[in-house]
């Protein structure tokens, strides 16, 4: 911001100086006219070497454009002040010639050495601007403009990046609706909630706004039963799921994309007992599944976070809502006897849990 302000201030100052430079001869003449009481008349500017004071007051000072003025300023303190500010005091000090006449610098220097009361209005010198002066000034102004334009060209131009967000990373909450009676033993009852993370990548553009993407993700699910067998025996049901999927996404609007997803994978289930049944053990059991779902991806429009340099052009945030149905193979839990017993123990089969059912998936996604 500071740099911007500085640039802006520089531009303003530059514009002001250009304007001032463009109108400087006229204004000098006007000033002299006002002092002298004569009507102003356009006159050509004198050569800089001969009119150092004029250089200081009118050109306003590109230093390089008034090399002769340096000497003049040394000899004339009034002319060594800020450009523009010098001319007026000089005029106020009744030394207009110091800024108007060629070769008036010596006179002005002399006059400053005289007592103020002894100063008399100096004879008004007639300005003489040659065509060479005008040409030189114009050349200098053109050079200044060219330098500024070159400076502008040196700054980095705005760049537009690729807004196509091919990659997506999501954190999902998948609620499955379980219709199996076996789940009535668990805390969550007829629903299960799986937390997961997934990543997807666009792999094919089927139509201008129809994208196919592949997805891979993992999920974790936990449920518990405080009284599976009796009041003092409980169980925990944990599962880990790995899934892959193919998604068809239609970027219909800038912020909404309907999608269809076919996905599948496998889950590993483990039942752990506690309380009076804590020495029971179950082997891990797996379940495969396939699912179809449809939903919407609500996301930030393209280039929302794009920088001037084109970075983050594809970065976006979104929320995914999807509903569907999953077909899962049921899982059966066999209890094995506890280890370390003298007599071998045969455990029961607890039966199966049917896992098929509708699901609702919501996810927070980051596109990039």
């Amino acid at each position: 911001m500071k740099a911007g302000r500085a640039r802006f201030a520089g531009r303003v100052w530059g514009a002001a100086l250009l304007v001032a430079a463009a109108y400087a001869p006229t204004r000098s003449v006007d000033a002299q006219a006002a002092v002298s009481g004569e009507p102003a008349a356009p006159v050509p500017s004198p050569p800089a070497a001969q009119t150092p004071a004029a250089t200081a007051s009118a050109v306003a000072a590109p230093v390089e454009s008034a090399p002769a003025g340096t000497t003049a300023a040394t000899d004339a303190p009034a002319a060594s002040a800020a450009p523009g500010a010098v001319a007026q005091p000089a005029a106020a000090a009744d030394a207009p010639a110091a800024s108007a006449e060629p070769g008036a610098a010596a006179q002005a220097a002399e006059s400053t050495q005289a007592p103020a009361s002894a100063r008399a209005p100096a004879p008004r010198a007639r300005r003489r601007w040659s065509a060479a002066d005008v040409a030189r000034i114009r050349a200098e102004l053109a050079a200044q403009r060219a330098a500024k334009a070159a400076a502008r060209k040196r700054r980095k131009p705005r760049v537009y990046g690729d807004a196509g967000a091919a990659n997506m990373l999501g954190f999902e909450l998948l609620g499955s609706f379980r219709r199996d009676v076996g789940y009535e033993h668990f805390e969550r009852g007829a629903t299960s909630v799986r937390l997961g993370v997934f990543g997807s990548r666009d792999v094919l553009t089927l139509a201008p706004k129809l994208i196919a993407s592949l997805e891979l993700g993992v999920g974790f699910e936990h449920d518990s039963a405080k009284r599976l067998f009796d009041a003092s025996s409980g169980a925990k049901l944990d599962s880990q799921t790995l899934h892959g999927g193919l998604t068809l996404r239609w970027d219909a609007l800038s912020c909404v994309s309907p999608l269809l997803r076919a996905w599948g994978g496998a889950s590993l289930f483990q039942l752990t007992f506690s309380g009076s049944a804590r020495d029971f053990e179950t082997e891990r059991t797996s379940s495969r599944f396939g699912a179809l779902g449809a939903g919407f991806l609500f996301h930030t429009p393209a280039r929302t976070f794009e920088s001037r340099g084109g970075r983050f052009s594809s970065f976006g945030l979104g929320v995914l809502i999807e509903a569907g149905y999953a077909w899962r193979s049921p899982v059966d839990f066999e209890i094995s006897g506890a280890e370390g017993r003298a007599i071998r123990v045969i455990g029961p089969s607890l039966g199966g849990l049917a896992l098929s059912g509708p699901y609702l998936r919501s996810a927070f996604v980051v596109r990039m």
Binding site: T191, S276, S349, G351
Partner: protein, 523 residues
Amino acid sequence: MMRKPLVSTLFTCLLATLAACREDDPPPVFVELLGRPVALDDQLLFTDARQQYAYLLDVAAAEPKAETIRIGLPPRAVVTERRREHDEALVLCSGRRADGARDAAPAALVRITTEGQSHVYELGTTPFNAVTQSEDGRYAIVYRTGTTDSRTLDNPNELVVVDLDKLPDAAGAVTRKTPDGLGHTLTRVLVSPTLRIAEQDRRLLVVLSAAEVTLFDLTHLDRRATIVQLDESRQIEPEQVVWSKSNPTLYVRARSSDNIFMFRFEAHDNDALGNDFRPTINPLSGGDGPRDIALFGTGSAERLLVVAEQSSQVLVIDPSSSKTTALALQKPAQRILLFEGVSPSDTRVQTRALLYSEKQQAITFVDPEDLSESPEEKLETIQVSSPVTGLFPLLAEGRVMLLQMQGVTLLNLGERTLTPISASAVLTQEAPLFDSERKRLWVGLSQQPWIGTLDIESGMTDEIRLDAAVHSLVPLLGLGRLAVVHADALGYVTLVDLERPAPEHAISVRGFFSSNIFDRGRR
């Protein structure tokens, strides 16, 4: 601007759906066993005393599956037992009164087959709590003992006869009977063996009450009961009935009477609603305070043996002539155990009796046959080391195990020798199990993880340590196994190989009450 409300609404709907789908906790599986399980030929039937289920566990396989057939029961199971002469089980449920939350449920007798099928015989609203069966298992008599305040009004003498050979909805399967004119509350119900009465084979239903014996003809349940009043002036509390094996005769002993009442039956002309027979009662003198009776001999040689505690006598009565022979005992006796065998002084195999009394250290052998000849030689008294609390007969082996306050004693009936065996706790009558094929006695003490064995012939003892405390022992002799039931809410049975009684040859089945728990309720 619409995006945020839409997303939040969807999430709210999701969470609300998840919350709304939560179910109440299902009832737990916890099983409270009703007594010891019933042993069928290849299965064990466990009855849950708290919840309305029975579980059938198949233990025939070398490695049985820990799976049960769960069978629904009416409320409040109170009795479970095997149906006699059948590979089926009976469960008596006393039903439930209606309350604010639940409807009334009638009492019911459930017959459970080995396939897990249940046949429910509804018995009415009376909370029955006892059942007795005929010898062939065809009839089950359901009645109520003790007082109850679980109904506003109920008849304590109501009983139900269930013909188990009929299906529940068949005519005559369930017959409710109440003895008209019975002045006292029944105390016990028995079913006689088949008796030839009035030229017809019959089985009698005998109901004992404080002063009466009531007889029903099970063949003609539509007829009235025959009530026999044993004493007009007082309540004599009949408590024991003995059936003659050769005559249509029965003998009744009462707690408060010195008489033994002999019932004989003869034909009787009666109306259509009355029995076509009638009993004749012959009181026999049973000494002073008869405490046990037994019949020995056959046909006309049948005799009644009686021990009279207060007079410290043993009596042999000829029922046909009422002739009585009495012998004085050194120590009074309360119980009779008849056996066939020899004695040290007599190698003839004949009926002999062992007389004993609880809390006495003296046991007496008596040879009741020809008691009148040299009566002193017919008695032999033996002192044991500690008072006897019970007796476990091993008659086929010619032995008896005396259960004592301290340990047990193996008594050889023929040689009349004693083999004392120490035990870590007092054994009850139900504790020992005998494997007659292998001549081995098994004992399991409750709350201890050991089961002990005693080789009857050698007197050698051994024990096996199990992985859990013993609840009860159930013989599965047909399978060559002993089922040791452990007190485990999820179900825990150890099957011990009777041929190779060692832990490495045993196998445990655990958790079978919870088998298929996730599948329950699935249609």
